[in-house]
């Protein structure tokens, strides 16, 4: 497929490295258009990692703790189990412990996997293991909030700064560039959390919006509620609230309601439970999309590499957020609160798994 690289070079020349690139008809589609696009002009040549099936694919996951992760793991396993060429899909989880994730990756390599997929706690942590896998000729697909990552064969990214920026832009627009906001962050030390926060901070540059309070709610409803109660009780001024995760937004909706305080614009995310709360509260909000499809996209990238198909070096997911205008296209009253948008699972599986 070298001819296509040559033809595509002039087209890509004028585009930025991380800007989504036009997708060719024969390109491997990791997720539907609009949800994910190639973000690199560099391609992994056809046949470079081609291997006769059946394959053993290993995946290292950082940890569990919320419904997004549960659904994403479910979608990953579904994608792995429904590919007839995948003999074994070995999934390991590090319980948010950096040393365990490093050990998990080493164990997967000892198990002689044909391809390795890594969703790291923080990308710098796994650099040495990615390098070792690359040296051993194992294709490695990495979820990397910062774009192309080191020696990873393919980097897939989404959420992160774009997620944080979407919420920040929403508040900037609603507050017309001035006022005081609170920031509810996720779990301290997690790379994805830092990236979201950085995106939010970037979006406020050049405005008169100041961050009046900043707390870590661990992406958790109970902790978020307690923190929100404290902040509201403190009497600190607030014109809007940025959230790193929507479980904390739901908690703050409830706190404002219980204390009889008028709602201010609050950011959320693309979760059915949040959309239900958004509708019930009559809130002014936005739902940045961090699709669970990122997981299956990494599985598809690994499969494409083993099939010998040409794959771009990186892919980026930054879909348009859920707003009041497109709310009804997403909200599913028939499903429970644990469902996240958009899903790669078939409709019958979604209805069975997420029924109310």
């Amino acid at each position: 497929m070298k001819w296509r690289s040559l033809l595509s070079a002039p087209i890509f020349a004028g585009l930025g490295l991380f800007a989504p690139h036009p997708v060719f008809a024969e390109d491997v589609e990791l997720l539907p258009p609009g949800l994910m696009a190639p973000s690199s002009k560099e391609m992994i040549p056809a046949g470079k990692f081609k291997k006769d099936p059946p394959w053993v694919i290993g995946m290292s996951w950082p940890g569990v703790g919320n419904t997004w992760i549960v659904q994403t793991i479910q979608e990953i396993k579904y994608a792995g189990a429904h590919d007839p060429n995948v003999k074994e899909f070995r999934f390991v989880e590090a319980n948010w412990q950096p040393p365990k994730q490093v050990a998990d990756i080493e164990d997967l390599m000892a198990h002689k996997v044909d391809a390795l997929i890594i969703a790291p706690i923080a990308v710098d942590l796994v650099k040495a293991q990615v390098d070792a896998a690359a040296k051993a000729g194992i294709p490695v697909v990495v979820f990397s909030p910062g774009g192309v990552f080191s020696n990873a064969t393919v980097s897939v990214y989404g959420g992160g700064e774009a997620f944080g920026r979407t919420g920040g832009e929403f508040l900037k627009d609603k507050l017309q560039g001035k006022g005081t906001v609170w920031a509810f962050r996720g779990v301290a030390g997690v790379g994805e959390e830092v990236a979201r926060y950085n995106g939010f901070r970037d979006s406020l540059k050049g405005t008169d919006i100041k961050i009046g309070a900043e707390v870590y709610g661990d992406w958790n409803y109970a902790k978020g509620k307690q923190l929100c109660e404290n902040l509201v009780a403190s009497g600190q001024p607030v014109d809007g609230i940025w959230f790193s995760g929507a479980d904390m937004t739901r908690a703050c909706f409830d706190v404002f309601k219980e204390l009889g305080k008028s709602l201010v614009p609050m950011t959320g995310e693309a979760n059915n439970g949040f959309l239900r709360a958004w509708k019930a509260a009559g809130a002014d909000s936005v739902g940045p999309i961090f699709t669970p499809g990122l997981g299956p996209a990494m599985v598809r990238a690994a499969v494409a590499l083993l099939e010998g198909k040409p794959v771009y070096r990186s892919y980026y997911s930054d879909p348009k957020p859920i707003t009041a205008a497109n709310f009804d296209q997403y909200y599913r009253p028939d499903l429970n609160d644990a469902f996240w948008f958009p899903s790669t699972l078939p409709e019958d599986v979604i209805k069975e798994t997420f029924k109310r």
């Binding site: 996951w61 569990v64 074994e88 070995r90 999934f91 390991v92 989880e93 319980n95 948010w96 412990q97 950096p98 040393p99 365990k100 490093v102 050990a103 998990d104 080493e106 164990d107 997967l108 390599m109 000892a110 198990h111 002689k112 706690i121 923080a122 990308v123 710098d124 942590l125 796994v126 650099k127 040495a128 301290a188 030390g189 997690v190 790379g191 959390e193 830092v194």
Partner: protein, 310 residues
């Protein structure tokens, strides 16, 4: 076996559980996981247990005097952060110095102010973890080249991790079994009042034990940071409780006076084999914590509490 030998064996805490568990894991994995005996996997297990072994040896020293140090994981994290923030020439001394200060604070709190070790080290754990996150909010930076080399190199066909283990075991064995300090540690742990009446200082050795434990955390942090070649403010979060689990599986009694280096080593190997075995056998990762908890409960239930010096 003479009465003296039986008494000595009793003081080690080694028994059917602490000796049998790693052996059973070894046999099970040999039979069921074809990759277990691979050279790469053996080297992996060695590298994976090294940091926990060093921390567990530090925890053993504290447990022998009837204490507990759950701040040792935060020391690992802070060490990792200091190694990438401080000038490479001063990074290791800075990390060891910080560990000494943390251990000293723990020791003084427990020995002089009679704060319960769990509460004292819980406070230190929270403070030190917060400090690490204050310095660096997520993983990043570059570890000093010498540290990376010391953690990753191999000598004479053996991975560096092997030598870290041998050195740590050797140093702690000499401290506990070949020094007057070690004798005092066992005496204080068995019965602090008797030890004091016999003329042995109690507060000094207690403080020294907490300093040793924190230093063990710093050494483990240096090794781990070299292994991943970058700093991480949450690197050691699990080590506080994992090290307690490891020594408990190895027959060390948290009430003090009973335990051994061999027990800490066996407990660490058991935990390492559980984690490695789960991955090699493809057991659901969510089952890992369940198995570890059950083994710990079983091990402690089957080990009779021994009273020394009565």
């Amino acid at each position: 076996m003479s009465a003296v030998s039986v008494r000595r064996l009793g003081r080690t805490g080694l028994g059917l559980v602490s000796l049998g568990l790693p052996l059973a894991m070894f046999v099970l994995l040999s039979a069921r996981a074809p990759d277990f005996f691979g050279l790469q996997n053996i080297a992996n297990v060695n590298s994976q247990i090294t940091a926990l072994l060093i921390v567990a040896l530090g925890q053993l020293v504290v447990a022998l005097i009837g204490g507990i140090d759950i701040s040792v994981g935060s020391v690992v994290s802070l060490t990792s952060v200091l190694l990438v923030l401080v000038d490479p020439a001063l990074a290791v001394p800075a990390a060891l110095g910080a560990a000494c200060a943390i251990g000293l604070a723990n020791g003084i709190g427990v020995a002089f102010f009679n704060v319960h070790p769990l509460i004292m080290t819980l406070a230190t754990m929270t403070f030190v973890q917060g400090l690490a996150l204050l310095f660096v909010s997520s993983a990043g930076g570059t570890a000093p080249a010498a540290v990376v080399m010391l953690a990753r190199a191999s000598f004479g066909g053996f991975p560096a991790a092997f030598f870290w283990c041998v050195l740590a075991i050797g140093v702690v064995s000499i401290i506990l079994y070949k020094s007057r300090f070690g004798l005092r540690v066992f005496a204080i742990g068995a019965n602090a009042q008797s030890a004091a009446l016999s003329g042995a200082g109690v507060s000094g050795p207690r403080i020294a034990c907490y300093i040793l434990c924190s230093l063990a955390g710093a050494v483990a942090g240096i090794y781990l940071t070299g292994r991943i070649a970058t700093g991480d403010p949450t690197l050691g979060q699990a080590f506080g409780l994992d090290s307690v689990t490891a020594i408990a599986l190895g027959g060390v009694q948290l009430s003090g006076g009973v335990g051994s280096v061999a027990g800490a080593v066996l407990g660490t190997i058991t935990l390492g084999l559980i984690a490695n075995g789960m991955n090699l056998l493809g057991v659901s990762p969510f089952f890992h914590a369940v198995v570890t908890g059950c083994l710990l409960l079983g091990a402690i239930s089957l080990q009779r509490r021994k009273v020394i010096g009565v």
